[in-house]
């Protein structure tokens, strides 16, 4: 089976600023990958490359066997934004947010079809948010907010879920239940990729790890890649209190 994401020798520049150099990564289907690295090391750029939002200067990108633009059309990749990037006062309900996942598939001039509504309801059931479907999105707890955006990804029918700092600002209980939701999604066939600073819990959460420092320093099963040597190389050796195998 070909990998879910295949990035080969990709370089990205913003003006004169180099964001990624000669980065290569091959992420298999049905894995839960953690992407770690310092701020500004290229994690967001990697996500943008996967979503087709930036065009690399060189190298090739394949997402579910498609070019990034075609992958967008097919809705292969769904993005769960950082909490701070969302306007929680926005006059929009839980259902309406999840329905935005259907915009790629539906005729946006028409009211949503019966099928769209069913898909949205099912997605909400799956993340256990159905009973909150008519709430305005600001009226939810941090963990519930995340679940709504995961539901949007499911309604989109995406095979790949990208999550940006999903645990930022969550309490321990919400974090735990979000982790078990993401793991169950992986087991049901999704490919989950998240950028995170939570290095402590990483070995219990992710089966794969990508270390990012202006390129992909290393990628592979957590037990092989999440080692003291490689991680301190990624973080300039500034690490404390992390247990390695």
């Amino acid at each position: 089976m070909p990998p879910a994401i295949e990035i080969k020798n990709v370089s990205v520049k913003y003006g004169n600023k180099i964001a990624l150099t000669d980065a290569s990564i091959s992420i298999p289907y049905r894995t839960f990958s953690g992407v770690v690295g310092m701020n500004g090391a290229g994690k967001s750029t990697l996500f943008k490359v996967i979503m087709g939002l930036v065009k690399p200067e060189s190298g090739s990108v394949t997402v579910c066997g498609d070019e990034p633009k075609l992958a967008q059309k097919h809705g292969h990749v769904a993005y769960v934004p950082q909490a701070e990037m969302v306007d929680w006062d926005f006059p929009i309900s839980v259902t309406e947010v999840v329905m935005m996942g259907r915009y790629g598939n539906q005729n946006i001039f028409k009211t949503p079809s019966q099928e769209d509504r069913m898909i949205v309801d099912e997605a909400l059931e799956q993340v256990k948010m159905f009973e909150f479907k008519d709430r305005q999105i600001g009226e939810l707890s941090g963990g519930q907010k995340k679940r709504v955006f995961v539901a949007r990804a499911l309604a989109q029918g995406a095979d790949i879920l990208l999550l940006d700092e999903p645990f930022a600002g969550l309490d321990a209980v919400s974090e735990k239940s979000l982790i078990s939701l993401l793991i169950s999604l992986k087991e049901s066939g999704k490919t989950v990729i998240m950028a995170t600073h939570e290095l402590t819990s990483l070995p219990n959460t992710c089966d794969h790890v990508a270390l990012v420092r202006y390129t992909i320093v290393a990628y592979g099963p957590t037990s092989e890649v999440f080692t003291e040597e490689l991680v301190s190389k990624t973080f300039d050796g500034l690490l404390q209190n992390i247990k390695f195998n």
Partner: protein, 273 residues
């Protein structure tokens, strides 16, 4: 005089009928746009564009073409200049907007002082809907009508553009195209509204109705309806106030809008105590 007579009697005059129609169309278009503008956080950009169009209005006056057309050209110049400077310098966007719009506004003032009489200056700066010409009335009604219809037709796209552009882009919605379409619609609605409320106050039409509605509801369709109701009511009060009491139309419209906002704000603060 009874209330129906109070409302209907002025409408037998063509100039007043025109003024009422134009005010209502301006009220509707501005209200619809305002809901998106405040959610996107582009109020300051609206302010910048509305001031920057002054030289266009003066040049249009010289050339004898509708104000809106000249204004539109300068609205585009302002948007392009702001984008150009922001992307090529370290100056922050709010400062860039401030520089661009004041410079263009100043150019407009220079042109006015050389060319147009002071009576016309007041009209441009503060609006005068009772004296609107037939051609300007048609121009305003048609362009604003079309602009409002476009926004409503594509409202889902504009909403996802305001709420989560990254998601929109990741599923292949052409977000850059929507971005520029929104800017152009903003320019069209600002320039079409100038005749009614004037350059200085048009920004209020684009912020206040949406903000009042935003305080009152958590549902977007309801927000649109409230904004339109608030805006049209204010526009009508403005038009009749000019007719009966010879008070500035634009001034009245914006003042009524501001009072309604304060009323809603105060009511809510008192109720939640």
């Amino acid at each position: 005089m009874d209330i129906i007579g109070f409302i209907l009697e002025p409408l037998q005059y063509a100039f007043m009928f025109k003024a009422v129609v134009v005010s209502v169309v301006v009220g509707i278009a501005c209200a619809i746009l305002s809901c998106f503008l405040i959610l996107k956080g582009w109020s300051l950009l609206g302010d910048a564009i509305s001031h920057a169009v002054l030289p266009g209005v003066v040049l249009a006056y010289m050339l004898g073409i509708p104000f809106g057309l000249g204004a539109f050209v300068f609205a585009m110049i302002a948007v392009l200049l702001i984008g150009l400077i922001k992307n090529n310098s370290k100056i922050k966007e709010d400062a860039v907007m401030g520089i661009v719009f004041t410079t263009l506004f100043a150019l407009g003032l220079m042109l006015i002082s050389k060319i147009v009489s002071s009576v016309d200056l007041t009209h441009v700066l503060f609006g005068e809907v009772l004296g609107i010409s037939d051609s300007s009335a048609w121009y305003t009604t048609i362009t604003l009508g079309i602009a409002a219809a476009i926004i409503l037709t594509f409202r889902k796209l504009f909403l996802v553009f305001c709420f989560d552009p990254t998601h929109a882009q990741s599923i292949g919605i052409p977000i850059k195209f929507i971005h520029y379409s929104f800017l152009i619609l903003l320019a069209i609605i600002i320039t079409g509204s100038i005749q009614t409320v004037g350059i200085i106050l048009v920004i209020a039409m684009l912020i206040t109705p949406g903000s009042t509605a935003f305080l009152l509801t958590k549902n977007f369709p309801t927000m649109l309806q409230i904004a339109v109701a608030v805006s049209v009511f204010s526009s009508l009060v403005g038009a009749y106030a000019s007719y009966y009491y010879d008070i500035s139309t634009g001034g009245t419209i914006v003042f009524v809008q501001g009072c309604l906002f304060m009323l809603v704000f105060t009511y809510q603060k008192l109720m939640t105590k």
